[in-house]
């Protein structure tokens, strides 16, 4: 189907099902129950899952296929975000131009950075991209304040021109929308205690994730993708055969940058604010973590990694000592305090610590990331040895 083989088709269908049913799957616990804390099926987090999924899939096209580790991908995410907000401010509150232009702007920006950075490989390439990203961050945070809003960030305002929209009479800043459907509009369905939220913005981002995912599969399977893998395995040999790898690398870098820009555009479409810290090196590092955690060079891995990190950031960081005491209230007093004292460093503000420990565990025991974990389980279940190994990789 769609030029994909059977395995890839089923992978795409599986991802499509996951995206479509996420509001139900991510809310496994009934509303009001003690475990509802761990539900992730609310619009903001689901949007983040798919948007960072797109970001990580794009990053993986560069890192997974060519082995070039870019430490500056956040710069494209940020550039896309700023372009997106400007479209929402100047053109129209409809999100379509914002998403398109942010992808284009990030693409142009990555041509510039890629052209310079790709003259080097390995660690030098990483450092160059890191330098460019930090430079963009510093520029956005101070010198370019008229364009970027500086530290406060760029947001929509009441007196923006929005030349394609009619005059605004509501006295409130319009919310980003798709032909009248606001991104924050949701349909809430309450079934026997479970609350499912079907959000417009989430499904828009979800559809775009599927398109992005499909394109990524096609790139992975194309002769172009094969060439990129050849670069990863031995660039020198390729050069000796008389082949110029630079155009391939640049194309790959730009595609990857456009994915990041697309993610940035979607982010501002869901929440019309772009801040400079979106370009900081920590944001670049985050997408590296997502990719490694999920599985480098696999198709589905980065999406899973993105989901896991965002889950930790949003769910674990919100557990406070008060909640812990509630959960363990059934224990005798002294024991309760003891248990809470043990767990407390790992939740709330300690979520980085938990994530770090998990990251170490994955690197040590599952170098192939979550995808490897899935494969191991699948192999155990089916009892077969390793004919399934390539199921969702490569």
């Amino acid at each position: 189907m769609l030029g994909l083989n059977k395995k890839d088709t089923s992978l795409l269908v599986a991802v499509a099902l996951l995206v479509a049913l996420a509001p139900i799957i991510l809310n496994p616990f009934p509303e009001g129950s003690a475990l509802a804390q761990f539900n992730a099926g609310y619009p903001d987090l689901m949007q983040r899952f798919v948007i960072f999924g797109i970001f990580a899939v794009g990053f993986n096209i560069l890192f997974g296929l060519t082995g070039y580790l870019s430490f500056g991908h956040a710069a494209f995410l940020g550039a896309g975000s700023y372009a997106g907000v400007w479209m929402l401010k100047l053109l129209t509150i409809n999100v379509i131009p914002a998403i398109l232009i942010s992808t284009v702007v990030a693409g142009l920006f990555s041509i510039l950075i890629g052209y310079i950075s790709l003259r080097r490989s390995g660690i030098y390439f990483s450092i160059l991209t890191l330098a460019f990203a930090q430079m963009s961050f510093a520029l956005a945070a101070s010198v370019l304040t008229p364009i970027t809003g500086g530290e406060t960030g760029l947001q929509t305002a009441l007196d923006d021109p929005r030349i394609l929209d009619g005059a605004n009479t509501t006295g409130n800043i319009p919310a980003p929308s798709l032909f009248g459907m606001e991104m924050s509009d949701s349909l809430q369905v309450n079934v026997a205690g479970w609350l499912w939220t079907f959000n417009v913005g989430y499904y828009l981002a979800g559809v775009i994730l599927l398109i992005a995912f499909y394109v990524a599969i096609r790139i992975f399977r194309s002769p172009f993708g094969l060439m990129l893998r050849a670069i990863k395995s031995n660039q020198q040999r390729l050069t000796y055969t008389g082949l110029n790898t630079r155009p391939y690398m640049l194309a790959c870098f730009v595609i990857s940058g456009m994915y990041a820009g697309l993610a940035g555009g979607l982010m501002v479409a869901m929440d019309p604010l772009a801040g400079a810290e979106r370009m900081q090196w920590t944001a670049s590092g985050e997408v590296v973590l997502m990719t490694i955690l999920g599985g480098i060079g696999t198709l589905i891995g980065p999406v899973l990694g993105a989901g896991l990190i965002k889950y930790f950031e949003n769910i674990f960081s919100k557990i406070n000592s008060n909640l812990l005491h509630e959960w363990f209230a059934f224990l005798p007093d002294g024991l309760e305090d003891f248990v809470v004292a043990i767990i407390y460093p790992f939740i709330g503000k300690g979520w980085h610590l938990t994530l770090g420990l998990m990251f170490m565990a994955v690197i040590i025991f599952l170098p192939g990331g979550l995808v490897e974990l899935g494969q191991k389980i699948a192999r155990k279940m089916s009892g077969k040895s390793d004919d399934k190994q390539t199921k969702s990789t490569e």
Binding site: P43, A141, G171, S186, L187, Q188, N190, V191, K318, K349
Partner: protein, 451 residues
């Protein structure tokens, strides 16, 4: 993917589930029948405390959170009641808000607008918070305020000192109790002119972001009006930790006052640098060289240690205020007492402003008789109150900014304890720091109940 198994039992089961789903859906979209977003229907009401728990302002965030928990205790009628006893409005009865027990959720802003908004959105969408409060950076406050405006939630700003929060970026759903850069400048300038003379030459080092700009501008404008001259204003990166290269040229620039528009760790480092370069002991233009820090906090003074001795600055509130300046500032001692009993040390100004904000919100709900953001906003607009430690205070309707006396402080020369680091020099009356609401531009817009 597995094969599709159709059995009679399976079909009936899934049919029943689907039927139940269609039969009893309570469907409400953003534009449906509920009067406002997250209307509390049970016996509890949830507030969202969004503070930095990690990052450069984590100390302030931790103190804010302590104050929030104390405020919730007092609202629910536990503890000794703190400032509820001194607050001029008597609408709060210690039985929660409007009879509903107050519960709270917490989140980590990481002092990043993005993370702060993510955390606030999850509080609104997942936990059903009816009010968001917190933040200890103006960038975060402005970002979260805009989000709350969009979502139809009240935002009670925490520690944010930039003019923009209630100036250029003010919003109908956002309210600020803390003072701002303009007020700092207006309060400091007369004292500085009095102590240091009217013919000074100032050199500014300014943190390179929004808050730094507005503070520098406020201090420049008000000191220049007194006759001072500004020799140079140099911007320093926010992430800078070593300021020696910025401090070195100061002494030979012809200036005789150094103004450090820095906050938190920045200020601690730049001040230490300046002292190490011998600026305090130096002479310039035949006068003693002086250093000024426009925004002071006790936590910063603690970080800078002995270096702060004798250095002037302004602050929103200090725990010794009632003892020093008298009963006009009633509430201070009550708050310090209950905070001290619970945590073992006096509260910072960040803790004070967030505690007040929580009480003010709860009180506004009681007086309005509803949690509806529009009703609460109306109750807060133009509200005059007393007994929250700052003396008589006005919540101005035009920009949702509180107007109250501003404290001019200096680093204590002989501190008697770890907390006795600032000495109150003077209290500038609210009238002297009041400005026209329109000078910073921006529009409030209209209140948004979200539904």
């Amino acid at each position: 993917m597995s094969k599709l198994d159709l059995t009679r039992r399976g079909v009936i089961k899934s049919g029943a589930v689907a039927g139940a789903g269609l039969a009893l859906p309570t469907i409400f979209t953003a534009s449906s029948a509920a009067a406002y977003v997250n209307e509390p229907t049970g016996s509890t009401v949830t507030l969202g405390f969004n503070v930095p728990q990690t990052g450069p302002y984590a100390d302030e965030g931790a103190d804010e959170l302590r104050a929030y928990m104390l405020a919730v205790e007092h609202l629910n009628g536990e503890g000794d009641g703190g400032m509820l006893n001194t607050f001029s409005s008597k609408a709060l009865k210690g039985n929660g808000i409007l009879g509903k027990k107050v519960e709270y959720v917490t989140g980590d802003t990481q002092t990043k607008p993005d993370a702060a908004r993510a955390s606030a959105r999850s509080m609104i969408e997942k936990d059903g918070a009816v009010m968001i409060t917190g933040g200890s950076s103006s960038g975060v406050a402005v970002a979260v305020q805009a989000l709350c405006q969009e979502a139809g939630i009240i935002f009670m700003a925490g520690l944010t000192h930039s003019n923009d929060t209630t100036g250029k970026d003010k919003k109908a759903n956002g309210f600020r109790h803390f003072f701002n850069s303009y007020m700092s400048g207006a309060a400091l300038a007369p004292i500085l002119a009095d102590r240091y003379g009217k013919d000074r030459k100032a050199y500014h080092l300014t943190a390179d972001y929004n808050w730094g700009y507005t503070t520098e501008e406020a201090v420049r404008t008000s000191t220049e009006a007194m006759g001072w001259e500004t020799v140079a204003a140099v911007k320093t990166p926010l992430a800078q930790t070593d300021f020696s290269s910025y401090v070195a040229p100061v002494l030979n620039s012809g200036a005789d006052v150094l103004v450090l528009n820095h906050y938190g760790g920045n200020m601690v480092n730049s001040l230490t640098s300046a002292v190490q370069f011998g600026l305090r002991a130096a002479q310039a233009n035949g006068k003693n060289f002086e250093i000024v820090v426009p925004l002071y906090s006790r936590l910063m003074a603690k970080g800078a240690g002995k270096n702060v001795a004798g250095i002037f600055g302004s602050t929103n509130w200090h725990w010794s205020l009632e003892n020093v300046a008298g009963a006009r500032y009633a509430g201070t001692n009550a708050f310090v007492k209950s905070f001290g009993e619970k945590y073992g040390f006096p509260p910072s100004q960040a803790a004070h402003t967030t505690y007040c904000q929580t009480l003010l919100y709860a009180d506004a709900c009681e007086r309005a008789g509803t949690f509806n953001p529009c009703g609460v906003g109306q109750a807060l607009e133009g509200f005059e109150f007393d007994g929250l430690g700052n003396g008589p205070t006005l919540y101005r309707a035009e920009d949702h900014q509180c107007f109250k006396d501003v404290l001019v402080v200096k680093g204590n020369e002989n501190p008697t304890s770890d907390f006795d680091l600032l000495e109150i020099v003077d209290v500038t009356p609210a009238a002297a720091v009041t400005y026209d609401a329109s000078i910073f531009g921006g529009e409030l817009g209209s209140c948004n109940p979200g539904a």
